[in-house]
């Protein structure tokens, strides 16, 4: 069929089954927007900032496992999108960002709103393209979606010069992709899997180390089955919260810088690490030379470059977690689970010694209490997004995550401002679920213009602002490592949150007591409007346990018993 490049873009999005696109128009992409106006195959949400549009597409992708799509114009439109691309790239999120570019004839002339989008985004995309002719546009669109979702997923940028969106040509959307140089490996090597299974059978203190790759691979059921079948204790990374389910007796909890005592001790004492889609991030390993010092390591990862990058691996298995577990599980029939009984006992003792705890108060709301409380009130039914800081760690530690994709946060890049737009994306994907963005008084300001977006499109997400009047996480480091010099972290000056929300078409709550907290959550859910729930929490609360940066995992700063 004959159509314009702009129409082709829309047709490709429809063919890929994308229901919601997030974006912001401008000169270079106006032809595409003109086609968006005419079509009915997908909905377009006008975010109020390109960064938010990309985060929203990212939240949509994380919640559904499908490719998220965002659209921006050239120049500043594109540069505003860079943080969103980098955020998705660091967490391997499947996403396609379509950017307008100046016409081909103007490329390289420093034309109005020209920027080298492909050059700028090279280090923060899985792949990117500058489209050079209308003929190649359908194929490149197809490849963009394919590359984004296959292998180790990631964001792909497709930069389209304005004149190509006007040109008319034949549109045939390819059924399949053939890139001779790109063939992801999904199946793990059979011999290696057998050897790994032998090691599991011989181990005394094995430990399952579950990473975000297990979520990306939709392997949660198989991971639970593996733990169940072997009775091997399990730790989750920040990105893997929900894979095992909060109530699973084999789950020790999160490990790493803010991991709990039992998890970090388990990693320090294990003799066999079974890593499933985890990448040994420095926030997880602490001091590398002390990390899992006594252990052999089985490392399952779809990205060969992750294996052996930071720690030496004894059983490297390149493959998709799901496919590897499908091959591995039958080989584990008859494994002697009693073998690990003593090990489980030790870890249970560790957990009793230093459980994930905090001291509650009747005078002031503790942030940990607030997290636990929403867990009790909405639990399984909610999707929780977060920004970056103490609130993020408290949510990861204390929320009872029951399933993967229930917990959406920026782990790899740590992007403040991610949570609210990501919540919009998640809510668009799952309108029937309660979506709560757990945020801080610092973070929420970074994309608060999205109040307007949410109000206009009636996307009722709840922003739970755990307000400590500080850039809390930085303040915590200043407390511990900079002799309490609170340089530029005091946020005593605050907007009127309630009025702010109302001014933008939402609703607001100021909460200072537990009763008000419950009432506000219930009202927010009933009102079904975007809201700011401003919760005054204890100002100087610290996230504990904490492994100081670069320290060994077993050297944790622990909560003082009875500390207020």
């Amino acid at each position: 069929m004959q159509m314009s490049g702009a129409q082709m873009v829309c047709e490709a999005i429809i063919a890929e089954g994308v229901k919601t696109v997030f974006g912001y128009p401008g000169g270079a992409i106006m032809h595409v927007y003109d086609e968006i106006y005419k079509q009915e195959g997908f909905e377009h949400i006008l975010n109020r900032h390109e960064q938010a549009a990309v985060h929203a597409a990212d939240g949509y992708a994380r919640a559904t496992g499908e490719v998220g799509v965002a659209m921006v114009t050239s120049g500043p439109g594109f540069t505003n999108a860079v943080t969103g691309l980098a955020t998705a790239y660091m967490d391997s999120i499947p996403m396609v960002v379509i950017s307008g570019q100046v016409p081909l004839s103007l490329i390289g002339t420093d034309g109005f709103q020209e920027i080298d989008a492909v050059g700028i985004s090279r280090p923060c995309t899985k792949h990117n393209f500058l489209v050079r002719s209308l003929e190649e546009l359908p194929r490149l669109l197809k490849e963009a979606f394919y590359i984004a979702r296959s292998g180790r997923p990631g964001p792909v940028l497709i930069d389209i010069p304005k004149d190509i969106t006007v040109d008319i040509g034949e549109f045939v959307y390819p059924d399949s992709v053939n890139i001779p140089t790109y063939k992801p490996t999904y199946k793990g090597n059979k011999k290696q899997i057998e050897k790994a299974v032998e090691a599991m059978k011989k181990a005394k203190k094995p430990l399952l180390y579950i990473g975000g790759g297990s979520v990306l691979s939709n392997a949660s059921d198989l991971v639970r089955e593996l733990a169940e079948k072997t009775q091997i204790p399990t730790v989750e990374t920040l990105m893997a919260r929900g894979v095992m389910g909060a109530k699973n007796p084999l789950l020790l909890g999160m490990l790493g810088m803010h991991g709990n005592y039992a998890s970090n001790m388990a990693m320090s004492e294990t003799d066999l690490v079974i890593s499933l889609g985890a990448r040994f991030d420095d926030r997880v390993t602490g001091k590398l030379s002390e990390f899992a010092k006594y252990a052999d390591i089985i490392h399952v990862d779809i990205d060969a470059a992750n294996i052996g990058k930071l720690v030496d691996v004894d059983y490297p298995i390149v493959g998709d977690v799901t496919e590897v577990l499908e091959a591995m599980l039958p080989l584990l029939d008859g494994i002697d689970t009693d073998r690990f009984q003593a090990w489980r006992e030790i870890l249970k003792r560790y957990d009793e010694l230093h459980p994930q705890s905090y001291v509650d108060s009747d005078d002031v709301i503790k942030p940990q209490w607030a997290i636990e409380r929403i867990g009790e009130l909405v639990g399984e039914n909610a999707i929780i997004t977060s920004d970056v800081g103490q609130h993020q760690m408290w949510a990861a530690q204390h929320y009872p995550f029951d399933r993967p994709r229930q917990w959406i946060n920026s782990g790899g890049l740590g992007t403040m401002g991610f949570g609210f737009p990501a919540a919009l994306g998640a809510k668009k994907a799952f309108p029937d679920k309660t979506v709560i963005n757990v945020t801080g008084d610092g973070s929420i300001l970074m994309n608060m213009q999205e109040l307007v977006t949410a109000a206009e499109y009636k996307i009722p997400v709840i922003n739970l602002i755990l307000n400590n009047h500080f850039l809390g996480m930085v303040r915590q480091w200043q407390t511990f490592f900079y002799e309490k010099r609170y340089s530029e972290t005091d946020l005593t000056f605050q907007p009127n949150w309630k009025a702010l929300a109302e001014a933008c078409g939402g609703i607001g709550y100021d909460v200072t007591t537990k009763e008000e907290f419950d009432a506000a959550i219930k009202d927010a859910i009933a009102q079904d409007k975007v809201c700011f729930m401003n919760v005054a929490v204890n100002r100087f609360e610290n996230v504990l346990p904490m492994v100081p940066a670069g320290g060994a995992l077993f050297n944790m700063m622990l909560p003082q018993k009875g500390e207020k």
């Binding site: 280090p123 792949h127 140089t181």
Partner: protein, 159 residues
């Protein structure tokens, strides 16, 4: 350990001839703080691919990362870390006309080269040989007051 860190390596990267593929390869080195000592690139005859030869240095671990990271780039078809290879490098040197043509000719001949061009004011010599020998040739050439030396970078092929 110290030595292993600085070991010289030559790798070949076979890539699809698409726009900005060279930039992808080189920016990967830059972004990860790896060094490129020399780089040559040209299309492979009768194919859609190009052959990039990169001379670099690093430990075995660093090389493993470089290789794997290169492999992750979508247009990269193959990365060959050379074990046994034939390596050649070319160099062009411009000498003053006042130097003895026959001396320079003899020197070049010793290094698998010759006089490429003689003009009113200068003599241009060309030599193609193994990279170490190119180094030796350049040292020897210093005695003849060269104006300018242009090295071509290493090309390598597996034995």
């Amino acid at each position: 350990m110290e030595n292993a860190m600085n070991e010289r390596r030559v790798i070949s990267v076979i890539v699809l001839n698409e726009s900005s593929v060279l930039a992808r390869v080189t920016s990967l080195f830059a972004a990860r703080g790896y060094n490129i000592a020399s780089l040559t690139v040209a299309p492979i005859p009768d194919s859609e691919m190009s052959h990039i030869t990169i001379e670099t240095n690093g430990s075995a671990k660093v090389m493993e990362q470089i290789t794997k990271q290169l492999h992750k780039l979508i247009p990269v078809y193959k990365v060959i870390e050379h074990e046994e290879m034939v390596e050649k490098e070319m160099v062009l040197v411009k000498f003053p006309i006042t130097e003895h043509l026959s001396d320079i000719g003899a020197l070049c001949a010793a290094y698998n080269g010759g006089i490429a061009n003689v003009g009113k004011e200068m003599i241009i010599a060309m030599v193609a040989d193994e990279p170490v020998r190119i180094q030796h040739f350049i040292e020897a050439a210093q005695r003849y007051n060269p104006y300018e030396i242009v090295r071509g970078g290493v090309v390598a092929i597996e034995r």
